[in-house]
């Protein structure tokens, strides 16, 4: 018991929390933007996987340039977002199934591409990790400093993404259009807003951000690629969006919450409290469910979500 009441424990715990939360954070921010415009995407696993591989390939083939990797991931994710947008906006296909299909496709496609590009080898290529930069002053705050402010720029970008998304959604005219498209697309359309255009933009951004989130795994954390490296994190990101009530700051909290639960459960196992490990593995999900049920009814999805918008001819 005395093991967990140390400063070192908390500091390590919170740092792990941040590491586990960041890939989900990027993806969740993107999905929040997309959902606020009315497009639900269950295929976040697909974006993340694609981004993980694309980023890794980008970095490996430019001699280890990690930022190139991020750029490649951004582009590939955007293209996938465009594809999903085309399917769900123009072709008005069902959004849930499009997402499931994207996941299946991306898993196969990334495995296929990985094998072709790196050919079946027993050695796994690696990249060097992003260097970490402790932020002066902030990193010296006891406990919290080490946990939050001694990471790589990638992580700091993640932090920055939260206020940026908030500003985008609530302080810009574009954000207004996004939310209008998600709440009352017919009214938005009569007001001259291009609902299709706005949704396309959002879905592409979601793809890009989702891919960058996946790239964090291969560029900022593990620095190598294994098949199915995302292992369900895309779904956690989706959960965070809803748990965070589609609001960037609350979503950030949700991502940290998930990261914390996961980091905590691993440490509980390491400290061997005799709890069967399956229950510890369950904790992030159970805690979210409890929180979800107790916040019952106080959050509401954008009204037009999952409903394809049909521009009425005049």
């Amino acid at each position: 018991m005395s093991d967990i009441l140390t400063v070192a424990f908390f500091s390590g715990l919170m740092a792990a929390c941040v590491r586990l939360a960041i890939p989900i954070l990027f993806t969740a921010m993107g999905e929040a933007i997309s959902e606020q415009s009315g497009i639900l995407n269950i295929g976040l696993e697909g974006y993340m996987l694609a981004g993980a591989l694309a980023g890794f390939v980008g970095a490996t083939f430019t001699g280890g340039n990690l930022w190139m990797g991020v750029l490649v991931a951004w582009i590939v994710g955007g293209l996938l977002g465009l594809l999903i947008g085309f399917l769900t906006i123009t072709l008005r296909a069902d959004q849930v199934v499009a997402g499931v299909a994207l996941n299946i496709f991306a898993l196969g496609a990334t495995n296929f591409a990985f094998r072709i590009i790196f050919s079946s080898q027993l050695k796994s290529p690696t990249t060097d990790p992003f260097p970490t930069y402790p932020i002066p002053l902030l990193a010296d705050i006891p406990v919290v400093g080490q946990a939050f402010f001694d990471h790589s720029i990638f992580v700091y970008l993640g932090y920055l993404l939260v206020p940026l998304t908030w500003v985008l959604l609530y302080k810009t005219s574009f954000g207004l259009k996004i939310r209008a498209a998600g709440e009352k697309p017919e009214a938005a359309d009569s007001a001259g807003i291009s609902v299709y255009g706005v949704r396309y933009a959002c879905v592409i951004i979601a793809g890009s951000l989702g891919a960058v989130g996946g790239a964090f795994l291969t560029l900022g954390s593990l620095n190598l690629f294994v098949e199915n490296i995302t292992a369900g994190r895309g779904f956690i990101a989706l959960t965070s969006v809803i748990f965070g009530g589609w609001h960037p700051v609350k979503i950030f909290g949700a991502c940290l919450f998930f990261g914390l639960a996961d980091a905590f459960q691993l440490r509980m196992q390491a400290l061997d409290f005799g709890i069967p490990y399956q229950f510890l593995l369950m904790t992030p999900y159970v805690l979210t469910l409890i929180a979800l049920f107790s916040l019952a009814g106080r959050t509401r999805a954008p009204s037009a979500i999952t409903i394809p918008f049909v521009k009425e001819s005049r």
């Binding site: 008005r92 994207l102 496709f105 898993l107 496609a109 495995n111 809803i242 979210t288 469910l289 019952a296």
Partner: protein
């Protein structure tokens, strides 16, 4: 013309997907003709000899059909059941508990009990998110989804611990005794009672949706909950029941897998049927007959895909890509389908009633 598009559109989509797949296969130096022949003959070849292949396709189709029916049923009420995977496992739990309880009873007794128990297991697991959705409007997409993990880990715990087979070595429950094995319907294959139960459920659902008040109420709630409430329909109750029945059907899928395929409860009895079932429901356009067809074709893809891998030595990655492409192309082709189908589907999913004829 529109009748034909209803059929042609998905067919062209599938062909287009196969074409792209063929390009991929060529790119790794394999022959697409060989591959695709292997796929179909591996799944439905030799039907009349009822060899392994066709029988295995039916076997694979069974859980997909159960879950497809379940997901579609809930969707009539605009309720998304993303928790079928977890409900399958909880249904399997109900099934194994009953089966292990009565190893010597008559087969009919045990199997009837397991059907009830598995329906109950899946239904109860769905009842949790159903309650919170009906009463507190908690979004069911996330709650059903999260419960998948909780359900799976719980079953894993049971199989590793309290229910572990004392004779065995592996973390799995004891094997069911012969009386609980689902009877084989066609000799020489592994086609079991499950498919008959599933088809029966399809029939029941068809009747319920089309010809009962309850079916009408479900659809009314799905189309426009406010209007439904004003006309005296209990929205909460319908939402609750829709999701619970959906869960029960997923539970039956679990029963089929435990008693017709694996013989035990382990934490790997489902390779994702809960999610593939959603695709089946949508491709089947929420209509029991369509779902039967969709489940059958998906089973062909899955079984044939394995055969393709074995016979043509193509990596499983290409098959996954092909499956994804097929779904993507087919749902993309939906817009070309007869407009009244589409309108019907949107009407089922929209909150507001459709008020205009398309131009």
């Amino acid at each position: 013309m529109s009748r034909l598009t209803g059929f042609l559109a998905p067919l062209i989509a599938v062909l287009a997907a196969f074409l792209v797949g063929a390009i991929l296969i060529l790119s790794v130096g394999k022959d697409p003709i060989v591959a695709y022949t292997a796929l179909f003959s591996g799944a439905v070849g030799d039907v009349f000899g009822l060899q392994l292949k066709f029988g295995e396709t039916i076997l694979k189709m069974t859980p997909l059909l159960f879950i497809g029916l379940g997901v579609a049923f809930a969707l009539h009420c605009r309720v998304w059941n993303i928790g079928a995977e977890g409900q399958l496992y909880l249904g399997a739990l109900g099934s194994i508990l009953v089966a292990l309880q009565w190893p010597d009873a008559s087969a009919w007794f045990v199997i009837t009990m397991t059907i009830l128990a598995s329906f109950l297991g899946g239904g109860l697991w769905a009842a949790i998110p159903a309650f919170f959705k009906a009463r507190y409007r908690v979004d069911e997409i996330i709650s059903t989804f999260l419960l998948n993990f909780v359900g799976l880990f719980f079953i894993s715990y049971l199989a590793h611990g309290p229910m572990r087979d004392p004779e065995g070595f592996m973390p799995q429950t004891r094997m069911i005794s012969e009386n609980a094995e689902l009877p084989i319907l066609v000799e020489g294959t592994r086609i079991h009672l499950g498919i008959a139960v599933a088809l029966f459920c399809a029939l029941v659902i068809y009747i319920v949706i089309r010809h009962t008040t309850w079916g009408y109420e479900l659809q009314a709630v799905g189309a426009n909950p406010n209007a439904a409430r004003y006309s005296g329909i209990s929205v909460g109750k319908n939402i609750f029941l829709a999701l619970v029945v959906s869960g029960g059907l997923a539970g039956l899928a679990g029963m089929g897998e435990v008693q017709g395929n694996m013989g035990r409860l382990t934490d790997t009895i489902s390779p994702g049927y809960g999610f593939t079932g959603i695709v089946v429901a949508i491709l089947g356009r929420l209509n029991p007959i369509g779902i039967i067809v969709a489940a059958f074709f998906f089973a062909i893809l899955l079984v044939g895909g394995d055969a393709m891998q074995g016979a043509a030595q193509i990596s499983s990655a290409i098959i996954e890509v092909l499956q994804g492409l097929i779904v993507l192309f087919v749902i993309g082709s939906e817009i070309l389908v007869n407009k009244s189908f589409r309108r019907e589907l949107i009407a089922k999913l929209r909150r507001r009633a459709v008020t205009e004829e398309p131009a």
